[in-house]
Each structure stands twice: as structure tokens, then as C-alpha cells.
Symmetry: C2
């Protein structure tokens, strides 16, 4: 952390090098050609796009065989793996390999998307918002979005999303093929997938086989995937040009200083304090026993990962030189706007409007986080209850008046989530719900009217125990009945978890409405204007902030300088054996210890490259100029965490599993001949 | 918290009202007379000073009878109460009342001090540091301090401390009578002492009987205390003048902006993340069972209290208007210094020197915190081991070359701590040590050479379990043998906890030395210069930052405005019954429920006043102009937390138990006639 503080400095010079998460319809091929002598053709782009997969819960992936085989990270399949596991069959601990197609197991709540088309809908959105004040414009924008998506989603197998790019400078409709039958084919043991655990997370050198293989099915059979990536057995060389095709989740590089200050001073600390305490609770819960350890493992890893990632982002914002750089960029932008009378008249007031909305956001943020964003209710059962209560309330409304996540275009996800067979563990539910309810009461204070209404004379533990123990929502059939029974079924349900969700719903909806009307509308409108001003001032060959839509970044395999020393770009399999202590998280699985004599320990294992990525890119293929898979993105280095706000090519690195390590592990450690045959069928 | 963020704004006008934690030899009597028509005489000051008690672990108290009876907070005696409790006799849960003197129980590790004399030693310190560079000056200052303290501490019953005031502008020798036999006389149940628990902590209205009574013994008999406070049965009226005599632990009001920035951006977040996670761990540990709950309760309450207090301080630093005010004050100070050529020549470079030292502090802070300040080793057994290892290393050195806490003047505390009969619970020790070792490895990274040396192939849990299970330090006799056996005994000891402390000691000592030589010496020298400049610019009628030495503050009983509403200054006993839910932390003890019919529910229970206090003032008597005890300080309101950096009379409030509530509880709830007889013997 010390070195991070000392070195995390953006220089103006580096800002315009390999930075960028480019959309497939605005890729700067010419710029790449100038540096590397190669630019992707349209055919190349189409092939890569159609080979790329989005996992709807928040990851990236790619097709790697003609038979629907999907390569992604182990941590992207971790929820599926845990949901399929039991105390007797613990696939997280022991790994999983389906011996035949018939043994491939369906993930209870996984959805895969493939981007088939991008349509510009900017004029349609602009048409309905023109001349309206920010709140009315926001409502009109949402309604038009719902209409466009509904028109597009003619079958359940199409997923249609209107995406705001450049903070609203451009609106595109993204059309995906939707697949809800995704099955687990192979996963190594957690111990090697996440070797080094939290201590090594976001660090390098690294020794992780963070991979898993899934397969997409339709109507009970694997789909055909003529578009898939060929495999490069030799992987990339140092300095070789690499591309990453994936779905970066979100960045805030275009946010104003007022927005970044709120993030630095309120949002990040609030989240970090919450996660830190939750982590402590979860770690101690794990000491209750082996089964408790197993059922809480996925949640703990997620919390640890978020904590470390957000902490890195917070550090970046606290770095005075970095923040001064952001301020200088904003000043430069403002100066250029003010230098042109027309731009000045139109845009110079935007920063102040945004700052005003941010002030209001500061007041609403805590209750919004707790009531609407789930901080108060960490419980799968509660999430089911809330979804059912909201669905009952929203579905009867006209499509374009609903909350966006309950429109007709979203119904397949609602249904899949409600009917998911993922196991729920009451003992764990009680602890996590007790924790979050305690934090809720602490955040708002015991005298807040909503708190008094929720708790009455009950303690957080009383309320959690009562609702978890007495609810019927453990049962998929009960949830199905409530989903299908709609408003009547929900309003007459005596279920205590449904009752809790009904009590919370008006409070949460009210604060969400306030946030939308008084904050979000101004921020969206303001950023949209700044996006237009930015086009006017800096031109259009810029990339939009990440939005969990498909992007292509380019870079090359390269180490970096840390404390005056060079960090080399590659590690080898042998390094894992050297680093192992036999104790979690530095314990290698038995399979590796046994296979050691058979392995070529000089085989490259992990590597770093300058590709500009961020959370959501996990599982992305990293490919060479021939569109061959040379590796699998699974992490960024510690410096990359500041990538939420800016990119520094001298320090930010993407971390991948090397393609040859994957082949060697599948062959020599896991004996996965069936899969190897598929991969080599290129 | 929202209201706190919105309202926590210092106005220049209010800065110079009732602010101030004044030393007894520089009290601004004339200023008090102008406002209230009363000023303390020297006799008044002496009587109050000699009635005031410091509890060495970090609290304040007062004598309230001629027979050595001491009134302080329940939370100031909480460690003693827990140390005296067992699973069968849980005095924290059930309360404690000694039926007769013979039933008063000795606290295993409590020490009481009474300030008998203040001597100015500024010339002696100035004499040895004159003309020296900062590192040499620092060493000379420490050596002279050790000499002065040793000359003073002619017997073990004298505690002598050289105190740096005004950041080193003045050095005073504080001479205390030291008492190590302190016994528990009375404590109510935790449930009413801390009614409302963490949710109500630092809030008001409040309903706490946060009191306990101790008695000071010498040679097996209670001491005579002719100087003690008389009791005011009626307590204070609204707007009545009140004084608080106590030991505020520390404030940073005179720190430079560079120092405050480090605190805001690194120190406070680091501490808060650590405490938040530790709290989560402890809360979950409590669910293991009743006994685990009991043995971890004191630690959890301490952690929760620190977390909330530090969070409030952090919020104050994040409040832009407040920070801008601090910046404006520094600018004003710098401008005045620069306006005078002589002052400019001498002092204008000091801020830059301090900023340079702060930069170095930023680099050293994390390892310093973990290795030297105990963040890595949360374990009573480890603390014993470290004390023994350091004592063995330090005692053979000449007195003035030792670490200050191991000089001859400090030996009685070392001995008392080592031989304390306080119970230690291995199950809890393993969990807390595992936690802190895990955080150590996380903070420094698994590849840090010190981490590799400490852990080898062991995990944090291995190391904690191994050392706790195999150590002999649970046994007082084993500790005694090592203390008395000195260097030979310690160096040949096979004890694994001693071995761990021996391994850590050179690492910790080195980083401490770096911190002293490269940071502390410059900060001390710099602040000393700024103190002199401040005297030159603003005159001497200012008060020094708090230093856990006796101070007198004045103020009056007054509510405040919050979100446009007035918070009245008093609560009544009946309010506790209204607030009770029957569930922890809002459950009243059985004794209160049973006594309810006998109580006068209109009796005033808690109240607020404008006195300027801070952590360490807990247990301070709050008195009227006749030096009668009208209440017992136990908390500050949420706004008072910013008091670490500045005082805002419109919002900062001290919170006390009302004197008449104490009398009524002792009489009608606890039937404590023996004590009441003593209190009334005035």
C-alpha cells in the first residue's frame, strides 16, 4: 500500500496512450496501426464480438469451441459452483469435471448473452426529452427506453438494452441473444483458482488458474457456435500486441470534481466501513464449522474482493497529485467551453447544476443505500420477497410507467431469479440479516420514524430470526405461486418475509423517487450536456465510460517499475510450488502436488499487459492480432484500481492466465481429454 | 449523521466563547467573572484539584467522601468489573454492591492518581536542547525528562510526569500521589449504565446511570480524604454555571494543516477500517455462547466506542467548511508571523519542516502502527510477553537512555501490570490474535521480509494457536519469574509467546526509532516553535491542547438546536421506561422494573452542558460555583467528537448523570444505605 501511495501519479503525457475501453462501432483502428502495424478489419471485429459472451451477473467470457463451450474465470462461476455443491459434494473445494456431456450440471441462476446488434437510438431519446425540465425529461427518457426495449424484445430469447454512452451523449440499443441454460463443465479447486487468496488479490507476480468452463444449452442440447475463438497454444510474447474483448462494468472517468468529492468523502468510506465490519462478521462465522465455512465462502470472497477494490479506488481519490490532475482536466475543459461564446452560453452553468444535485445526493445517500440498495437486507430470502412485492406492484402498471427492472423486456430475468433452485441456508441468512439490520438501525438511528416502524420493540436479531424461520420462501413452489398470483396473492400473503418487504417497499420507493427526481435527473441531464460539450471541444475520437457493454481495448504484454525495480510480465508454473506454504490461502491442491513430476514447471502461468480493463472484464478473452486466445483476464494489478477514475499506462496492468498453462493443467493435472479434444478442434 | 454533516460548521464568532481545557495554574478567572459574576479563588481551585482523581488507564474521577470513596463512570470501571467477574458471578450483568467494607473487591489493574504539585521545568528542558538539531534535541529532551522524573519519584507512591504543554512551549512536572490498591464498592447493571448501547452512544436525549463507586486503600485500609466534593442533591438549573475538573486525554487543535491532512487521509481511515472489521469479528464471536459473550463484552464495547468516536472525528475533518476554517486560521497565523521580520526569520519555515516530517510519517505509519502500536498483536498474553522482553532489554540500561515507559519512575506500573491477576481467556486470545496477525499480513503483504520471518510457513491462525496454547504466561508466577530474572531469564526462556515477542522486538524498535528520529523530533521541535510564535502573536491567555493532565473547563447547562428543533438539556427517569423495549441494548434491568413504583419518575436523569471536554474526561465531576458535585460527566454529544480539532459552543455538549438521579437510584433501587450515609456525611 505504501508503494501504491507513493507511485500512483498520473502524468498528462501518458493519458492518451493505450487508454480506452472502445465500443465495437468506434474502435480507433488507425491509431493501433500507427503503433503496431496492424488494425482489425470489420470481419475481425464481427468474429470477435460474436465469440464474446456476457455473463449477466457481472462477468465476461468467450466461446472456445463450436459446441457452445464457454471459457470464463473460476470466480465468475463461483456462485454457480457453490449453488451446485453440498456438504458431501463440495465442488468449490474439490473441483469439478463432467466426464461426459450428460454430467454437465445446470447453474441455477446463470444467464449468458451474446451481442448481435447495436442500433443508434439517440434521435428517439432526444426527440422525447427535447425542451423538458430535468425531472420531466428523466421520466420521458425512461418511458421511451421501455418502449424501445419492448419493441425489440419480441421473444424471451432476445435481451434488449438501451445504453447511455458518453454520459448520455449517445444512446444505443444493444441486442443480445439470451441463454438461460448454462451448465458447469469444468472447474479446478478453489485453492488453485484463487491461490494466494485475499493477500495476493490485485497483486502480481501471481499464480492462479482462475478458470472454469461452462456450456450454453438451448432446448436441452448444446448450442452451435460457429463464431468462437481459436486457441493459441504458445500464448503471447513480451511486447506483443494484445486485445481484450469484454464487458467492463463501470468507470467514472467523466464525472465532475463535485461528484468525485462526494465519492471520496462519503460514498467510499460508507461502503468500506460497512464491508470491513461485514467481513469481520463473516470471517468469524466461518469458525463455526466446516459446513458454515462452505456456505459462507462465496459471500466472504466477494466481500473481500469488493473491499480491496473499493479501498484501492478510495486511495486513488485520496492521492493529492491524482486529484489535482483531475481538477486540472476539469479546469481545462471549463476554460475551453468558456472561450467559445456559444458553448459558454449553453454549457458553462452545468458544473454548478451538478454540484447542486450532488449536495442533495449527500443528504439522501445513506437511507437510499440502506433501503433501496439492499444494505439493510443482506438475505436471499428478503431479496426474493422484495422481488415478488415489487413485481406484484409493477406488473399491473403500463409497461412504460414501471421501474426499468420490471418492464416486459426484463420479465425473463425476474422469472429465472424467482424460480432459481439455488440453496438457501437459514442459519447463514439469520446472521447476515441480523448484521445488516443492525447497521441499518445504526445508520439511521433508533429514533428515525422508519426504524421505529420496522423494529417496534424487536431487536435486529429478533426480526431476522422471526422472518427467516417463519417464511415459506425457501420453497420454490411458494415463490412461484406468489409470482403468478400477483397483487392479490402478495397482498393477502401472511408470510413474514413478504410482510417485511411490504413494510419496507413504500419507504424504499419514496427515497428512490426522491433520488431520481432530485438528483439523478440533474446528473443525467448535466452529464449529457457535458458529453456534447466534450465532443465539441475534444472531437469524437474518444471512448465512453464503461457501462457493462462490450468493449475492445488494446495494449501489449509488458511489466512495470515498482519501487525502482522491474516487475517482469510472466510467471511460471514452478513459482506456485515455490510460493506454497501448505496453509490456506497458500496451500496447493492435492492434484497439483501429485502432478508436479509430470508438469513442465517452466510453462508460463500468469502474465500482465497494458490493456485498459476494470471490474466486469473478469473472464474476458485476451487475444492476439490473429484473434487467437492467448489468455484469460482475471484481475488487474493494485494500480489498476484507480482505473475507475483514470488510466496510467506506466502502472496499470491487466492480469491473465496464460493459454498454455490452461492446456497443461487440463491435460496433465485434470486429465480433461474430452475438453482438450474440443479446444483443439479448431 | 446527516444532520451532523449539515450542521457541523465552526463560526469564527463562537471560537472564543466557552472553549478551553484550562490548566489549574492558568485558569481565566476574570473571563468567567465577566460572564457569570463568579471566579474561583485559589483555595477553591486547590480544593477541587485535590478532590480530583485520575484513573491511570484513561479516565477521571473524584473523591466524594472523607473515607476515600471515588465516584467515576461505570465504563471507567468496566475492565475491573469484568476482571472480577466469572461465569457464575457476572457483576457486569448483575451489578455489584459491597454490603460492608470487607466485601469491597480489589481491582486487578487499577491505579488512581491525585495531582499534588505542578512545577515549571521549561528552563531545564530548554537548557539541554538549546542549539541542537532536531534528532539530538529529541534525545536530550528525553534524557532530561527521565532525570527530572527520577529525581522527583523518591518513593513508589509518587508518580512524576514531565508534561509538554502548548506543543512544547511549556514543560511542567506533574507530581501525583499514586495509589495501586483500588477496590470496587458499587456498580449498577451494565444494562442501565449503558442503556441504549452503541446506538445511543454520543447521542442525547439519554438515560444512563453510567456510574460506579471505587475506594482507594493504602496498607489495607481506606485512605483519609479531607479534600472531597460535597454532594448537591438538587443538581444544576438550566443556564447555571458549571465547571468540569478532569483529565481530557488529547486534542489536536494546534496541529498544522499538513498534520490534519495525514490524519484525515491515512490515519483515521486506517484505524476505522481495522476497528470496523474487528467489531464484526467480535460481534460474531459473541454468538458462540453466553460465556464467550461475557468475556468479550468489555473489548467489544471499547471497540464500538472508539469506532464511533473516531468516525465522528473523521467526519469533522471531512467537513469542507470546517477544514477551510482551520486553513483560514493557519493562514492568519502565518500572515501575522510573516508581518513581523523577527518572527518571520525565526518561524516562517516551521510549517514546511513539519510538512516534510509528515511526508515521512506517511511512509512509516502502517508498519509503526502494526509492530510498535500493537495493531498486529491483540492479545493480553502477547502484551505480557512484550513488556517482559522490553523490560529485560531496557532495565539494564542507564535510566536516561531507556524508553520512557521503562524508566525507574515507571517501574511500579510495569510491576503492577505484570503481576495483575486479571483473568485471560485462551479461546478469546486465539481469535483476537488470529485477527490481528491476519491484518498485519494484509497490511504489509505476504512478501514483506518481516512477514516472512514471522510467519514462515504458518498461517496467522497457526501462529496464534501455537503461541497461546503453549505459553506459560497465563501463570502470574511465571511472569514474575521472568520479570525478576531479567535478561538471562528472558533470553533463555523457551516460551513461544516470549519467542514471538523477541522476534518482533527488533523490528518494532527499529521502526519506532525511525519514527522518533525522522518524524517525532521534527514535529516536537516544530510545534514547540509554533507554540512560542503563538504566544508572541496571540498572547499567553490561551490554553494548551489536552494531554491527559488535570484541566478545568467552565460552561453552563444548555440544550442546543438540531434540524431547527431545540434539544432540551434535561431528561428524567421516566424517559428510560418509555424508551425501553425489553431487548438489549434497550432492556432495563430487573431491579429497575421492580423499583419503578417507588421511583419519582420526574427526577432529572441526564443533562447536557457547554463545558469543553473530550475522551479522558469520562468520570469527571461536574460541579457548581460552590464546588458541589451536581453531576458526573460520561459522554459528549455527537458534535463534541469534532472537539478533537476545535470547539463550537453552539453545538458541542458534555453529557452528565444528574446528581439527584444517582442518589435516588442508590436509595430506591439498590438500597445502598451504607454508601448514602457516607455521601451525606458532608
Amino acid at each position: 500500500m505504501r508503494s501504491f501511495l507513493a507511485l500512483f501519479i498520473f502524468s498528462i503525457a501518458s493519458l492518451h496512450a493505450e487508454e480506452g475501453m472502445w465500443t465495437f462501432n468506434n474502435f480507433p483502428g488507425e491509431k493501433v496501426r500507427q503503433k503496431y502495424g496492424f488494425a482489425p478489419t470489420q470481419q475481425w471485429l464481427d468474429q470477435v464480438r460474436l465469440s464474446s459472451v456476457r455473463l449477466a451477473e457481472g462477468c465476461s467470457a468467450s466461446f472456445v469451441s463450436p459446441g457452445g463451450l464457454v471459457l470464463t474465470n473460476h470466480h465468475c462461476a463461483a456462485t454457480c459452483i457453490q449453488e451446485l455443491s453440498t456438504a458431501e459434494k463440495d465442488y468449490a473445494a474439490k473441483g469439478f469435471l463432467a466426464p461426459a456431456e450428460s454430467g454437465e450440471l445446470r447453474c441455477p441462476s446463470q444467464e449468458a448473452n451474446v451481442l448481435t446488434e447495436i442500433v443508434d437510438v439517440t434521435p428517439r431519446i432526444a426527440g422525447v426529452t427535447k425542451g423538458l425540465a430535468s425531472k420531466a425529461a428523466n421520466e420521458a427518457r425512461k418511458a421511451e427506453t421501455s418502449r424501445i426495449e419492448k419493441e425489440c424484445a419480441t421473444t424471451e430469447s432476445l435481451r434488449c438494452e438501451v445504453v447511455s454512452l458518453y454520459g448520455g451523449g449517445v444512446y444505443n440499443l444493444y441486442k443480445y441473444q439470451r441463454y438461460q441454460d448454462v451448465r458447469l463443465v469444468f472447474a479446478p479447486e478453489q485453492a488453485i483458482a484463487f491461490f494466494g487468496g485475499d493477500p495476493d488479490n490485485f497483486n502480481f507476480p501471481r499464480f492462479n488458474l482462475d478458470m472454469s468452463l461452462l456450456r450454453v444449452y438451448e432446448k436441452g442440447a448444446p448450442i452451435k457456435t460457429p463464431h468462437h475463438l481459436k486457441w493459441s497454444a504458445s500464448g503471447p510474447k513480451q511486447d506483443e500486441l494484445t486485445f481484450v474483448s469484454g464487458h467492463p462494468g463501470g468507470t467514472n472517468r467523466k464525472n465532475t470534481i463535485a461528484m468525485l468529492e462526494l465519492e471520496r468523502d462519503l460514498m467510499k468510506p460508507t461502503t468500506l466501513f460497512y464491508l470491513a465490519e461485514y467481513r469481520g462478521m463473516l470471517t468469524a462465522f466461518q469458525t463455526r464449522g466446516d459446513e458454515q465455512r462452505r456456505i459462507s465462502q462465496d459471500e466472504l470472497l466477494g466481500v473481500e474482493n469488493s473491499f480491496k477494490a473499493f479501498k484501492g479506488q478510495h486511495q486513488a481519490l485520496l492521492e493529492a497529485k491524482f486529484f489535482d490532475q483531475k481538477k486540472a482536466e476539469e479546469s481545462d475543459f471549463q476554460k475551453r467551453v468558456n472561450a467559445d461564446p456559444k458553448l459558454k452560453a449553453e454549457y458553462s452553468g452545468v458544473w454548478k447544476d451538478i454540484a447542486g444535485a450532488v449536495q442533495r445526493q449527500r443528504e439522501l445517500y445513506i437511507p437510499y443505500l440502506y433501503f433501496e440498495r439492499g444494505y439493510a437486507f443482506r438475505s436471499d430470502l428478503y431479496r426474493h420477497a422484495r422481488r415478488l412485492v415489487r413485481a406484484a406492484e409493477e406488473f399491473p402498471k403500463p409497461n412504460d410507467k414501471r421501474l426499468p427492472e420490471y418492464t416486459d423486456a426484463r420479465k425473463p430475468e425476474i422469472r429465472q431469479a424467482t424460480l432459481s433452485a439455488a440453496p438457501i441456508y437459514p442459519e447463514f441468512e439469520i446472521e447476515t440479516l441480523t448484521f445488516s439490520l443492525t447497521k441499518l438501525r445504526e445508520a439511521l438511528g433508533p429514533d428515525d420514524p422508519a426504524i421505529r416502524e420496522l423494529f417496534g420493540k424487536m431487536s435486529p436479531r429478533d426480526l431476522a430470526t422471526e422472518t427467516v424461520k417463519r417464511t415459506t420462501l425457501m420453497d420454490v413452489a411458494a415463490r412461484k405461486a406468489l409470482l403468478e398470483g400477483g397483487q392479490t396473492a402478495v397482498s393477502t400473503s401472511p408470510d413474514p418475509m413478504i410482510a417485511l418487504a411490504k413494510l419496507v417497499n413504500p419507504i424504499a420507493s419514496k427515497i428512490r423517487k426522491q433520488m431520481e427526481d432530485e438528483v439523478e435527473s440533474t446528473l443525467i441531464g448535466g452529464l449529457e450536456k457535458l458529453a456534447k460539450a466534450r465532443f465539441a471541444v475534444y472531437g469524437t475520437s474518444i471512448y465512453p465510460d464503461a457501462t457493462f457493454t462490450l468493449r475492445l481495448s488494446y495494449g501489449s504484454v509488458k511489466g512495470w517499475q515498482e519501487n525502482g525495480k522491474t516487475v517482469p510480465p510472466f510467471t511460471i508454473l514452478g513459482g506456485a510450488f515455490e510460493r506454497a506454504t501448505g496453509r490456506d490461502p497458500f496451500a496447493l491442491p492435492q492434484s497439483w502436488l501429485e502432478a508436479k513430476p509430470k508438469l513442465d514447471l517452466q510453462t508460463r502461468f500468469n502474465f500482465v499487459s497494458t490493456n485498459d480493463i476494470i471490474g466486469g472484464n473478469s473472464g474476458s478473452p485476451i487475444i492476439n492480432k490473429d484473434a487467437e486466445l492467448v489468455g484469460l483476464i482475471f484481475d488487474g494489478n493494485i494500480h489498476s484500481l484507480g482505473g475507475n477514475y483514470g488510466f496510467d499506462e506506466s502502472l496499470n496492468r491487466a492480469v491473465s492466465v496464460h493459454s498454455s498453462a490452461i492446456l497443461q493443467a487440463l491435460e496433465k493435472i485434470y486429465g480433461a481429454r474430452r475438453i482438450l479434444g474440443e479446444l483443439k478442434a479448431k
